[in-house]
Symmetry: C2
Subunit: 369 residues, 2 copies
């Protein structure tokens, strides 16, 4: 393998595939990145066996071939180079790769390229396109509600459900749920239901490039492939049945309020300051167009008073402050609507005037009340 490339493009590709590099895996070669030089590109691949990422950079290929190098060394070296052409040449005998820049040169010892896991791109007729920024926003608005506890795998995933030309994205850890609906073009005949690991989506949003681009999503029985620009990401899917989310979203309410998102977010943050980490419960009291938030702990008391537009009955309930903050952080609208069916039923929180997104938050049951 022998090629000349541009530092900037090469570094971009390195930083993208780096996200799939596994430093903890017992298989040392997974801490590496595979380089394949062919035609007018160098392809970079990394995988932790759960997800795999492949990207490429334009290069002048002087001799096709491949090599696997420790991700950390090659990325950090290229990051620290000046913006001059870089000449890269592998030594087939030793497996080491020389990186030449100006008068200087580094030689990095590699892994045997033949031992790098295969990375076949799945092929399937089940595929659809979605605008990169729409997908990014949907993931951001939903993925926070997924569980991180691996004991119940289904809850660590995000449901992508395509029906009647629309994509519904849903996650829940049983304490809270987030739901987003997006119209898709040319997908009227598609009927797909897949559970994508939350971790995969968290990596995906970081590598989705320019906001104007499209992401092509291809689905097989147990894998999903995201294609965008020069980059693709493959992930395993989570097996099992996603809970019936439709059934837990209340269709009616006894109390409804509208208020400023920032007012509630700031008050929630201040009220939770005095609570202990992990048990940040705040009490909310809705009455007569006023929302009162109270917290009473060993450290002191907070009483926040917020003006709201209220319809329906007065109500008292308690929320986990961190869960509420999470929802308000991603809701992306100046005003929100909250709807309640009772002090112990899940509350609905949604952007004012947007029917395509909502979050559900289960109140906390207080011991002495």
């Amino acid at each position: 393998m022998k090629f000349v490339c541009d530092r900037e493009n090469f570094l971009d590709a390195l930083q993208v595939v780096q996200r799939a590099v596994s430093l903890k895996n017992p298989l040392p070669i997974l801490s590496g990145i595979k380089f394949e030089a062919e035609e007018n590109k160098v392809f970079l691949t990394a995988t932790d066996l759960e997800i795999g990422i492949r990207s490429s950079a334009p290069a002048e290929i002087l001799e096709p071939g491949n090599a696997v190098l420790p991700a950390r060394y090659i990325t950090e070296l290229i990051r620290r180079l000046p913006d001059i052409p870089i000449f890269i040449e592998s030594d087939a005998l030793t497996g080491s790769v020389a990186v030449k820049y100006g008068q200087s040169e580094a030689s990095i010892n590699g892994f045997p390229a033949g031992e790098f896991p295969d990375f076949p791109l799945p092929v399937s007729e089940f595929n659809f396109n979605i605008a990169a920024d729409t997908l990014k926003e949907a993931i951001r608005q939903v993925v926070f509600a997924a569980a991180t506890d691996e004991n119940r795998p289904v809850f660590t995933g995000v449901l992508f459900e395509i029906q009647e030309g629309r994509l519904q994205v849903v996650a829940t850890d049983t304490h809270r749920l987030a739901w987003r609906r997006i119209p898709l073009e040319n997908c009227e005949d598609l009927d797909i239901n897949l559970i994508i690991p939350g971790k995969t989506l968290n990596e995906l949003v970081k590598i989705i490039g320019s906001p104007d681009s499209l992401v092509r999503i291809t689905v097989t029985e147990n894998q999903v492939l995201f294609n965008t620009g020069d980059t693709c990401l493959i992930s395993r899917l989570i097996g099992g049945q996603f809970p019936n989310y439709r059934q837990v979203i209340p269709q009616e309410h006894i109390t409804k309020v509208r208020l400023k998102t920032k007012d509630l977010a700031d008050a929630t943050e201040r009220a939770s300051l005095l609570t202990k980490e992990g048990s940040s419960v705040i009490k909310l009291h809705l009455n007569d167009n006023v929302l009162i938030i109270t917290v009473n702990t060993e450290a002191g008391r907070v009483r926040e008073e917020l003006p709201v537009y209220q319809e329906g009955e007065p109500l008292q309930f308690a929320f986990n402050a961190r869960y509420l903050s999470d929802i308000l952080r991603v809701i992306g609208s100046e005003e929100i609507i909250m709807e309640f069916t009772g002090p112990l039923s899940p509350g609905i929180i949604k952007p004012a005037g947007d029917k395509e997104y909502l979050s559900l938050l289960l109140p906390v049951r207080l011991r002495e009340e």
Copy 2:
């Protein structure tokens, strides 16, 4: 205690004194900030018994008095408030303090104010003024060379030596040494020699305010007081004799080179990439106006070649890469001069054209050479 103040000024003062708050001290009250309302100011004080910081914010005092509150709660609360007037009132009976903002209110439980350690400002005829930005720069250029190992306290300190109207600032951990000289005004008669803890100076640079201001330094037998604007910092001094630094700075050299600071800094960083943490030794070879840096490890090899202006003999030696990077990071000039008396004697590194600053770096003795 009862006063009204401006959120912004109050928060500034909180963030300054917060630096002296001790969260690890077995004495819980040291995790607090003492507030004293008198005349038209509220004074804030915090101490970890090693250093103490006092600052103030303008306030409308409705009732003089004092209180001690947990630093974390009061600072985080004020940080999260909108920019509206804040009304603060202590309850002498319970020791709690109410913070009222708009329609809302928090009440934070405090410590008994009488138990907060005394904080007398030292008075002494030994004092001098120095421009804040000059002091800041001198600390930055020297303090990195102080040791962090508390077993040899003298080396964790920075020597401030005033003689003949000049201040010399020196630190060494025995592997490296940094020295800076500054002319002082109106100090011809002063002859002071003090060792200030490196930690104190690291905190000091963070609270020194506007670059145009003056810092007044007052010295007693075992304390030093820094006064600037509304803020003062008191610290204990380190006892003992600072090593005779003059004697270790070589006065002659057999080899001298001039080169670009950035060239050497970048090459050093790249060369140390392949070394193990904690043992990042790089070899340097000076010959015929070329500096060659090499590293050879299990991970691979690096060979960096840099053009230099050389006078004197060829030379081979080895440096700890991290120590060299530390020096180059603070040297603050485009070009540097390095002077050597031999492969095992300390090298001098100084900014080209500046006789008031230098660093000394002891070469590493390589086993097999």
